[in-house]
Symmetry: C2
Subunit: 373 residues, 2 copies
């Protein structure tokens, strides 16, 4: 599934290819988040135009709406949403665990009430694999227990161990079921263990023993300091196979992403570019800006002259600011396109520099101008 193309001479950054039946993904890659079968405010043809190679879906949300019967009848999520490239689905565990008092956790799985209509449901490791089969995800994520933060070593250990038992059950379920809609469905294990390196190592070794197509680092970006996150990522990638993809879940800022590419991660996803876009917060090639700031009222410069897509180059900051002030939907569309364009540009540019052996120098100079001191 993974082919290593280049290794940065000064860091653990690596460039490679992930091959799925619906397309080859150039890594490092940023994956736009399309929770409910749409990347918010962006059309599918626009995702292609911006260079998206893989997007995310969310098992919890898609299970509740449109539901498995619709997805199954429509031939899976790809056909339903008219997106032919790869889709990775999150297991939905994170959303279910966020329901707190609406959720009851046992060794068997999680019973929960829908946030939409209060109806009762149950997610077990096996059930979550079955739903992802029905969605038709190219990459399925195992159901794991999201360890809360902060956690004591004991709490983190008990939680991680349950996730590992669930990983084995997911594996068994996968072996007893078939991929749907004619394409292979890969599955990634998720390393847990909070901020404790011995647990992180044990978790990854357990997963590798069970054997998955790729490995993710879970349970980070949940409130710990960036330096701790970087340290755990750096430690974890040492225990992840060289010949398989590595995915850091839910991370993060541009600085986070570049720092974790440097530590050997291939795949990233985050709601930040689309969510911040809807709040008028733009990531541009020259820094972050908030368009609600009055200083952009007369700003004739394009949203971002450093990019090449429609939204970033064809409209002034003054116009986009006006759209936000006037509560216009087009504001959300243009800002979301722009922020996704920026994140995809960031991963693409990082990759180019890894291929050229200039990653660490580029990263340093880019961040120096991006976060001026």
């Amino acid at each position: 599934m993974y082919q290593l193309l280049a290794q940065d001479p000064h860091s653990k950054a690596r460039a490679g290819l992930i091959t799925t039946d619906r397309g080859v993904i150039e890594t490092p890659i940023f994956m736009p988040v399309g929770t409910q079968g749409t990347v918010k405010a962006i059309e599918q043809r626009e995702l292609l135009e911006l260079g998206a190679q893989i997007i995310l879906g969310n098992t919890y949300h898609l299970y509740l709406r449109p539901t498995e019967d619709v997805l199954s009848k429509m031939g899976g999520l790809h056909k339903f949403m008219n997106w032919q490239k790869p889709i990775l689905t999150d297991s939905g565990g994170f959303q279910v665990f966020s329901l707190k008092e609406l959720m009851k956790l046992t060794e068997d799985g999680a019973a929960f009430s829908s946030h939409i209509d209060g109806s009762k449901h149950f997610f077990s490791p096996e059930r979550v694999m079955e739903i992802q089969r029905c969605i038709g995800s190219d990459i399925m994520m195992l159901l794991d227990e999201c360890t809360s933060f902060p956690a004591t070593h004991d709490e983190a250990k008990r939680s991680m161990e349950r996730s590992m038992r669930w990983a084995q059950r997911c594996k068994t379920a996968l072996e007893g079921s078939e991929p749907r809609y004619g394409a292979r469905q890969f599955a990634f294990g998720i390393g847990q263990g909070s901020v404790y390196k011995d647990l992180r190592r044990e978790s990854l070794e357990t997963l590798i023993n069970i054997g998955f197509d790729g490995y993710a680092i879970g349970g980070l970006a949940v409130g710990e300091k960036a330096e701790i996150m970087y340290d755990i990522v750096d430690f974890s990638t040492d225990y992840m196979p060289q010949n398989q993809p590595r995915y850091l879940m839910g991370v993060g800022t541009p600085q986070n992403i570049l720092s974790c590419i440097e530590r050997g991660v291939d795949m990233f996803d985050c709601v930040m570019p689309t969510r911040n876009a809807r709040n008028a917060q733009l990531f541009t090639t020259t820094g972050r800006i908030n368009l609600r700031n009055a200083k952009y009222r007369f700003d004739e410069t394009p949203i971002d002259a450093g990019l090449e897509n429609y939204a970033s180059t064809n409209f002034s900051r003054a116009y986009l600011r006006h759209l936000f002030m006037a509560d216009e939907i087009l504001a959300l569309q243009l800002a979301s396109q722009h922020n996704i364009a920026f994140y995809l540009w960031l991963a693409r540019t990082a990759r180019q520099h890894i291929l050229e052996g200039t990653y660490t120098a580029w990263k340093r100079s880019f961040l120096e101008q991006w976060y001026p001191q």
Copy 2:
């Protein structure tokens, strides 16, 4: 400005061309409404793709936001919103009069408080022309008094007469000012007179005596029955010059538009396609549908196979329904594109049939399948 190309042999329907410095408009035409410098939820490149030839802006809204100083600095609305084709601006009178208790009307004009921040403003006929000069509208509408409905003959007469005095003041203001941004700025007079034919005639004759580039029928679609509206339109077009454009303001449903094309109208605008789209109500070539209806849950057919644009043909009704049920922004985008595509298709198809001399027969058969009895 207007060139008559064809006259339907069985009705007053006509096909023509309106020439502005920013493009030639093929009539009959539907003009998408872009109140605040954006047609809600549709990108400018998409408007071009759908075949929009002219869009509307609103003087009241643009005056309050982004304001004249921004528009002037940015080189006018076309440049500000990156739309190179013609723009027609409504005078803003309709919005100001809708403010009711926040508005005070005198012979000089209308004093009002902003709906945004309560600040005090004054629109006179002269001021509204000045603002439209600043916007850079290709077609400016005069400030008129919107006669309430129902109105007695006396009320309608007094109101119409004031609008006619204002029309003369607009004309004088236009003669004393220059077009901005290097393109001609045409001005249309607006016939009033409620449902009274003698007043309608007097109003149009007065406007034609003053002399404008085109003439509009105002004060309709305000609560009167469709048959009365059709009758007033039919009567009015008899008094409108053959060699100038005729614009029926704020109308309407597909049936309204086809019926008024038949009565000699060239130009239409209405918020219905975009507003209804945002409520999941679609106009399709085979009828109206509401996607919140459960029967579309498994509907694999395209939104409208009778059209050729991206939104209408690339997504199933089931998918668009899902986007509405999940409150996704993409629902608004795809539905708005589709409805505007339908309205533009309707005007284009009507025009084609006028050119071929088959308008009345086509209109009858289209509406028979569209509103089945």
